[in-house]
């Protein structure tokens, strides 16, 4: 017979409190999903607004925006370019913590930072290369290509050195940034380059095209995570056991790191190269303080991500501040609160 394990005198964190908490989380997630759908439909409507069938729907949407501004006393929701930034922001607030939940617990937090710098080289190549071949599209496409190649490079290094060690990461990070600065300096003569927006994040550099790109990338990333959730969880928790269970660990690692590159590139315009990793890490760190399971960590990360985005946008728009810094500062505030909350719970318990 198995030995009974004594746990009766330990308090179970279940019952009505747990149920209420779960209900709140699910409401928050449902609200996030509704907002995301509104944002996706805006991007779609804006894209197809010249189609006679949808022109009316688009103008109704913008009229609704004017009513919003009227009632809230703001000057935000009537502008299409603001909707584009907001859509990008809301989607960042979903996909960055979603991918970040796996990255943080694989102890790969700095990978996001590295890939952002790689993607920065891509932006530089996009600007300079665009000027040379006379292409005026978003440099983000070049960033996406270079970012994904960088991700495959990091994975290649990791498989050969058997670790996501900090030395290859540091070399990759500084190396690609160095290449980026060289290209920018060379490209200044070719075309006026607003590189500061990409470094620190700027709502004004979000174009219709880049919002559309983020929309497509986000839908793909969410779908892939749902499809491979079990496998990603298993390799994150116990890579060796996952290998023994015959999961293709290298393939899932590559998938995770390529998705990271994709999310980083999509988030770069709003957050900036230097701060983009914050959104992958900070909401997850906050969630891990208070969550009671992995799925809950993921849900809370997304909710904290959304709160950071909403707070950061409000701060950036009302005070005229850079968006990246504002979002990260709000995220850090949430993180500190979560630490207070979880340590508060411990003191409350020990007072009894």
């Amino acid at each position: 017979m198995p030995e009974p394990i004594d746990s009766t005198n330990r308090e179970h964190e279940h019952g009505t409190g747990g149920d209420r908490r779960r209900l709140l989380e699910h409401c928050g997630l449902a609200l996030t999903a509704v907002i995301a759908l509104v944002m996706l439909s805006f991007v779609l409507l804006y894209w197809l607004r010249d189609n006679p069938a949808l022109a009316n729907a688009y103008s109704q949407f913008m009229i609704a925006g004017q009513w919003f501004d009227y009632y809230l006393g703001t000057n935000v929701f009537q502008w299409a370019f603001m909707w584009q930034s907001m859509a990008t922001g809301v989607l960042i607030g979903i996909v960055a913590p979603l991918i970040g939940t796996f990255l943080v617990h694989r102890e790969m937090a700095l990978i996001g930072e590295t890939l952002a710098h790689t993607a920065f080289a891509g932006v530089a190549i996009g600007f300079a290369g665009g000027a040379v071949i006379g292409w005026s599209g978003s440099p983000l496409y070049a960033a996406l290509l270079v970012g994904v190649l960088g991700a495959l490079g990091v994975q290649w290094l990791a498989e050969r050195t058997n670790t996501y060690g900090d030395v290859p990461i540091a070399i990759m990070l500084t190396g690609s940034f160095a290449v980026g600065t060289l290209i920018i300096s060379w490209g200044r003569g070719q075309r006026g380059i607003d590189i500061e927006g990409f470094l620190f994040g700027d709502l004004a550099i979000v174009t219709a095209g880049s919002a559309r790109m983020m929309a497509v990338l986000s839908v793909v990333v969410v779908a892939v995570v749902i499809y491979t959730y079990k496998q990603l969880l298993f390799i994150t928790f116990d890579e060796q056991a996952a290998r023994v269970a015959q999961l293709n660990v290298d393939a899932y690692n590559t998938l995770l790191i390529v998705m990271t590159a994709v999310v980083v590139v999509g988030s770069m315009q709003v957050l900036g190269v230097i701060l983009v990793a914050g959104m992958l890490v900070i909401p997850v760190a906050a969630a891990s303080q208070v969550a009671r399971g992995f799925r809950e960590t993921m849900y809370l990360s997304i909710l904290f991500g959304q709160l950071s985005i909403a707070g950061g946008f409000a701060l950036a728009i009302s005070q005229g501040l850079p968006s990246g810094g504002s979002i990260i500062v709000v995220a850090i505030a949430i993180y500190l609160l979560s630490i207070l909350l979880s340590s508060g719970r411990v003191t409350a318990m020990s007072m009894h």
Partner: protein, 246 residues
């Protein structure tokens, strides 16, 4: 019956340093094999070679009659690694979530069904931690945590259980209970390979012993091992032998 594991002339080196040299052994289904040897003797490496985590430089390994490279029934093997190699200590994962991972090899990309859930609950019950299901892994004691990992192997309906020093850092009482659980699982037909530094435990529990120090010094039943000089030879004249008195 096909052997669970068949190792033929296997050698493996890290760079120039041989870690496993010319080892051959067969582990039959239903066997309880204790794998012992001094620190750095290549026990874990040999286990990794058996499970296909490492590829031998020379020689071959087969699992249930299939060459290990072509073996794709991952759900038949439950592996409990050394505690340091998984994220149970830091990652917020509940006991039930971690046991459910045992179903992942069966499920692939499909959704888990109520049948999967029932198997998970049964596994939790078998190892006696049903009431800890919603607890975080990192809040459990060492012994409870090892039970959770065994439950994961049971949930995958494994035929072969491979354990690498599962009771390091576990108090004596929980350790005895843990080994009684292993006995019970072995009686129900599950093949067990156990790496253990405490030789007393191994000679008490295992039906067969493999003693290695790079080379295989002894492989046979427990009685012949106790009578042989394999232990002294493998551990060397000055080697430290951990012994467990009863």
């Amino acid at each position: 019956m096909t052997p669970a594991v068949d190792v033929t002339d296997v050698s493996f080196a890290y760079g120039e340093k041989p870690v496993v040299s010319d080892v051959s052994m067969t582990i039959d289904q239903g066997e309880f094999l204790g794998l012992i040897g001094p620190n750095g003797s290549g026990k874990t490496t040999l286990l990794h070679l058996m499970l296909g985590l490492l590829e031998p430089d020379t020689g071959s390994v087969s699992l249930f009659g299939e060459p290990v490279g072509a073996f794709d029934e991952g759900e038949r093997i439950g592996y409990v690694s050394q505690q340091s190699t998984n994220r149970g200590g830091t990652m917020p994962v509940t006991v039930r979530e971690s046991v459910t991972m045992g179903r992942f090899a069966h499920a692939g990309h499909r959704r888990l069904t109520s049948e999967d859930d029932a198997i998970v609950e049964e596994a939790l019950e078998t190892v006696g931690i049903t009431e800890l299901g919603d607890r975080l892994i990192n809040q459990l004691s060492g012994g409870q945590r090892q039970r959770a990992y065994i439950a994961r192997a049971l949930a995958s309906e494994a035929d072969l259980l491979a354990l690498d020093e599962p009771t390091v850092g576990v108090d004596a009482e929980s350790r005895d209970a843990f080994y009684r659980l292993l006995d019970r699982l072995n009686d129900s037909g599950i093949t067990i390979i156990l790496i253990e530094h405490d030789i007393g435990v191994v000679t008490d529990r295992a039906s067969r012993i493999a003693c290695i120090n790079t080379e295989l010094y002894h492989h046979g039943d427990t009685e012949s091992f106790v009578e042989s000089d394999a232990l002294a030879e493998a551990y060397g004249a000055t080697g430290q032998v951990v012994h467990h008195d009863h």
